[in-house]
Symmetry: C2
């Protein structure tokens, strides 16, 4: 078990185009349950896969339990048990000594780019890159579990 | 991923009292989701723990994905995310060369005893011990996920 603390910002396509990422990985994920009190996510991420249970968000913090599972199992779970899969490419960008994860969505969420920074504690400070926009940490419509139900293209 | 094929029978307390088990283990389990199309169970079983996703039952068969997780995580998931936990002692009984799992429920399901035999394929044959009663394989109220919602004591 861990507590996940992250802040989430929007990124405009034109601002993102000039940013250099150190690496990127393809992510495909779906939800066995989207209840915000206990979302259950299945994700393939490059050549690895995970099942993740997350509790209710309290501010920027959230209980998280994550277990690695075989990729073949994940693909079968996604195909048989999940609908409205989310596909995105995650880019890792270093800014001021910290790693930002920038998710460029495709499919039904194409056009949406979200940057997240994960913190070790709620008081940890960081500086904002000039390519991030509004802080949407507490806007539930940007939660991936909600994007799987109501994708960006339907807003 | 595996396909679980099992047959389930009721056992009367008076018939069970004379049966000798080769071993037994304490089980405590709860559900992150009770949707019969994709139940998600967290279980501690002796000093091990698992998260298990099961698909819809088709006859006696059911898709099953099971992953071992740390016992401390399982206890935290059970305490924080699950209600109406199921507690039972599972007894392993050998009959005619096959192992039967006999679950003696406690708590809100006290009085219920269920014997299950797991098969390798739908055509596998087996003989019935004289201590089993009605076949309840297809009776959904005996599914543990349903017992967590409507326990035996409320029937």
């Amino acid at each position: 078990m861990a507590v996940e603390i992250e802040h989430k910002y929007l990124v405009e396509v034109e601002d993102w185009n000039n940013v250099v990422a150190v690496k990127n990985v393809q992510i495909r994920q779906g939800y066995l349950q989207t209840d915000p009190n206990k979302t259950i996510r299945v994700r393939t991420k490059g050549n690895q896969a995970y099942i993740t249970i997350k509790g209710k968000s309290v501010g920027a913090s959230r209980l998280e339990f994550e277990y690695e599972i075989p990729v073949a199992d994940a693909n079968e779970l996604l195909d048989k048990f999940c609908s409205n899969l989310i596909e995105k490419v995650r880019h890792y960008v270093i800014h001021d000594g910290k790693t930002w994860e920038v998710d460029v969505f495709t499919g039904l969420n194409a056009g949406l780019i979200v940057a997240e920074i994960e913190l070790n504690n709620e008081d940890e400070t960081y500086t904002l890159p000039n390519w991030v926009g509004d802080n949407v940490t507490s806007e539930v419509k940007y939660a991936n579990s909600n994007l799987s139900v109501t994708p960006f293209s339907k807003w």
